[in-house]
Subunit: 609 residues, 2 copies
């Protein structure tokens, strides 16, 4: 294709609102234009690359037997009401009333639509497993869309959903998806960090996020310097940095030499830092106690302190029973923070948040700052694992301006539950190999997730098993943000001059730049383009009357992997240069097509290997 | 692909709400499922065919230099306000307020989005002509969606928009689009009726609709039995069936022998039929006079009767001036009806509708039923051409229960304007060749249209011409309904057993049905499938354990063009049958792949010729 025949309004200036590299380069290289905040139009050259990412995703989905379908983008609100997410999705979901007053949703995701379709067709175990996917338009009503298509409102997502007779079948598809995702990102020339969460903490039984490192990432990753451990900070664990007694009896023995618990007056002292200064000790000697309110708690609290009167109920006949609201005291070593995601998982709660000051006073009998695990009767105590190793600690005294010294775990209090709820930080030790952990910001490009029965139960999906008995299928979901993947390739692969595309996603594979598009240069350029196109190579021929410098700058900006310069001086040779290389090589024009085509095929073969 | 590996829940029963053949067959053949009224999900086999139609459209657009882009589906309401269509699009346009209170539209069409994009990039005449297109999701909030994807709410449309320095350039692209559309429908195996409207009546200067015949069509077409004249009834003309005098003077001469106009009392007579009976004459002798209210009339009315006080104004500085509202008396031969589309075009009005009874009484001085052109002072008279030939007519008398006899055009009244505003009917004569016209119902699959300056002016698009002077580009738009095209192929190509796909759109090209998928039959079927797939032929192999009859029925229902039956009895031969044929032929299994592949290529070559 000739530049004069496409639409390539490249920019020298960087739009003011483009603060990250991919956004800047996508605007400058004429891949994108903004229609409104968070709404971007792909121009021809951008769409070529987007479609290539889509094609890679499609090929890998098809290769594992996932079947493409196309539900609508606008879907009935009814199915969101069935799943319960009509109420829980919040304002990020774009809701529409149509002219007849019906509720509709501009799809942000499609668990409901796929499950509704499968429900109507599923009758026998013979139809399972079934994995369906779409590559389609999604909409999330971001309050502050930014970073171009990295966090836009409308975007293209590949979302797949699988249905299974049992856990083993789900796991098989889940593993195949994981492999397909690794291939997809490899073929896109991307370095991803697969982040596993094997704890089962999220209610499902497995989940893996595919992250790319990014300064503006939404996520904090915890990585090990010595092995390939990688986790989202929300779920990361670490090697214990304490020596805990085996049980409460062992704790008692450890506490034998510790003086008896004693009250200490701590007037006007509220924070851990103030306490450290006041008592001339270290934050690791404190047991910090925080009161949390948890919502929709599925854990059985019938034997928990202060919970006898709580009422456990189910929202629907088939839904799990839960307590609409419950309070907990969380005790943790003073130098650490509570990871609320882990805490919610431990409690099987849909949400946890610090309790209000009023609730804290009511439940601990003291103002905020003096909670402690000793003598608490109105609250179940959840102790972080670190607390079990503390035999001579300072805690709040459940009284204004009072703390306890010489508190020993086991001797002075017993928690209702012990769990790992700490926030893991850089410098903590890897739970796998003991290496040093460090942090990175990351953006999620893909996510595979064992959903279990959440949607199939709430939406009443069933099939008949081999014995003719009705069963509920288990389910997985698997998403990839297509635009975000494209932008992330640019984030990873660029230099000061522009984009450095991998061959697989480049809008064109070879750029031909005649110094002037006339005479022998025109002839040679046209001939080379025709020869390459005859071999299926995608060529962009710059036939404009611009100065050579302008054409070179545009070719670098657009980032086409191979560039051929056709100049009078060198003919019958031409200059060939890969985008990443500094210096061109002279090649006989007559041999250039064969050499370039081979180079294209070779890089594709490496990426697709 | 094996049937067991796809998702093909074919139906024996026809869903109750599926009343047309394509809807019934798309549901039965597992191409589609309903998510809600007017919202359909394509299942794998349906999506395969939909994508093939898309690909044909894309190839033909690319071939004429149209460039694909991808704006968003959800677009800002602002640009619709700029064009003025925010107010005129009505309730069929789905409007959304987002969480921040912004107005958005789920695109029903994209003149605004494309024009906004082009406006920001266009500077020089050198960038023109420019034709951009998308194949993307559209939404129209149909009150009564029906007929499956033929009239759904969400659908896929190819819409292209072109921008030009001048009319000649627009015409060149318009003609190229017309040729591309003919090729697209031919490649889809469809018989379309191209319907031209060369009258320039719609404000643009050219338009062509691509119709398919359909019992449930939205449009009435007027066709000629003797030539290829075809027009939408809204715009159709016919050969005059009257002999009109050359001018008013000639009309006077024609009226010389006619008795003087006379009042006749017609108590309780209101309809033309009643009048015919009462006066013992024929409806062709009457001049029917109807009062119309017209909205946004651009025609200059400064010299028109009764219009002196009307105020002509422009909605925006650059918008054309118009009268917000004006009334007209339309006179037409009594056996004919007024074509309101033609009338609106003649008046350059955005809309016309019969006036209310109150307005009729106020403007004619008589109740409804007694309007006539003689003595009317408060209204401009628009006379249909037929009226100019009437020298001895009956008209309303502008008084209750009074008509006039012996009214002569020219002698007794002179119209303000003469125009063709009649509804053309079956039996009228062709304006091109004089042949007999007949009617058909049709559905519009595509439309190409010279828009002119409507959007480029209202949205302030400009470029600098060769002299450096700012100019407004002229514009064309070109749409194809992709789903509707797919459904129309089924409407045209089916039999009692199911769909009869053209090779170009068939979800698979060859179906292989082993009588039993075991032993030698399995081996032969697998081998044939592998041989065909190696040649790029798309194969569906029915590996199910169903009875042969069930498999045959499904193959016919799905409509795969070529079927191979592999049975023990015939091996080493197999039965080959085209979907349209009655009897299979026996072919050596070893030679079948070559023969089938050749047949596939041959049919594709014919379709693509």
């Amino acid at each position: 294709m000739k530049v004069s025949q496409t639409f390539l309004p490249t920019l020298r200036e960087v739009p003011a609102d483009a603060v990250i590299v991919s956004h800047r380069l996508m605007m400058r290289a004429a891949m994108l234009r903004k229609l409104a905040n968070g709404l971007f139009a792909y121009l021809p050259i951008g769409l070529r690359s987007l479609r290539k990412v889509e094609r890679i995703v499609r090929e890998e989905m098809d290769a594992i037997g996932s079947l493409e379908i196309k539900p609508t983008v606008v879907v009935p609100g009814e199915i969101w009401k069935e799943s319960g997410r009509w109420d829980t999705m919040g304002d990020g979901m774009l809701r529409v009333k149509n002219r007849l007053g019906g509720d509709f949703v501009v799809s942000p995701t499609a668990e409901e639509a796929f499950t509704a379709l499968v429900r109507d067709e599923l009758s026998s175990y013979r139809q399972l497993p079934l994995t369906l996917y779409q590559i389609n338009t999604k909409y999330r009503d971001e309050i502050r869309p930014r970073y171009g298509v990295m966090r836009g409102r409308e975007f293209t997502m590949k979302d797949a959903y699988s249905y299974h007779t049992d856990e083993a079948s789900l796991d098989e598809t889940y593993q195949a998806m994981g492999r397909a995702y690794r291939r997809i990102f490899k073929r896109c020339g991307l370095t991803v960090i697969p982040v596993r969460a094997d704890t089962g903490a999220m209610g499902g039984t497995g989940s893996e996020e595919f992250m790319v490192e990014s300064e503006i990432g939404d996520n904090t990753l915890i990585l090990c310097r010595s092995c390939d451990y990688a986790a989202n900070v929300e779920k990361a664990g670490c090697k214990p940095d304490f020596a805990a007694p085996a049980d409460l009896a062992a704790a008692d023995i450890a506490a034998a030499a510790v003086p008896a618990r004693a009250k200490v007056s701590t007037p006007s002292v509220r924070t851990i830092d103030e306490l450290c200064a006041f008592l001339k000790t270290d934050s690791k000697k404190f047991i910090k106690t925080l009161v949390y309110k948890a919502v929709n708690v599925e854990l059985d609290l019938s034997a928990a302190p202060g919970c006898a009167k709580l009422n456990r109920r189910a929202a629907a006949p088939d839904a799990p029973k839960s307590y609409p609201e419950a309070f907990f005291a969380v005790a943790i070593r003073g130098d650490l923070d509570v990871n609320e995601t882990k805490l919610a998982a431990v409690l099987k709660a849909s949400e946890v948040a610090l309790a209000s000051d009023v609730d804290v006073e009511r439940l601990t009998g003291a103002p905020v700052g003096f909670a402690g695990p000793v003598g608490l009767t109105l609250l179940p105590v959840v102790a972080d694992e670190t607390v079990t190793a503390m035999s001579d600690a300072v805690t709040g005294g459940l009284e204004k301006d009072i703390h306890f010294e010489h508190v020993a775990y086991g001797r002075d209090f017993a928690p209702w539950l012990v769990a790992d709820v700490r926030v893991v930080k850089a410098g903590d030790r890897c739970s796998v190999c003991g290496g040093e952990l460090y942090e990175k910001k990351g953006n999620e490009l893909g996510h595979i997730f064992k959903l279990g029965y959440k949607y199939t139960k709430s939406m009443n999906v069933s099939f008949l098993d081999e014995q003719g008995k009705a069963q509920v299928p288990t389910m997985g979901c698997y998403g990839i943000g297509v635009d975000r993947t494209l932008a992330s390739i640019i984030e990873e692969r660029h230099d000061d001059d522009g984009i450095v595309w991998p061959m697989s996603v480049a809008p064109f594979q070879v750029s031909i730049v005649p110094i002037k598009y006339e005479g022998a240069m025109k002839e040679a350029a046209d001939k080379l383009a025709a020869e390459l196109e005859a071999q299926g190579i995608e060529v962009l021929l710059d036939d404009r009357t611009e100065r050579p410098g302008v054409k070179f700058k545009d070719a670098d900006l657009i980032g086409i992997p191979l560039r051929v310069v056709v100049g009078d001086k060198n003919l019958p040779k031409v200059e060939v240069k890969a985008r990443g290389e500094k210096e061109p090589r002279l090649v006989e024009a007559a041999a250039a097509a064969a050499e370039l085509a081979a180079a294209v095929r070779k890089e594709l073969a490496v990426l697709n290997a």
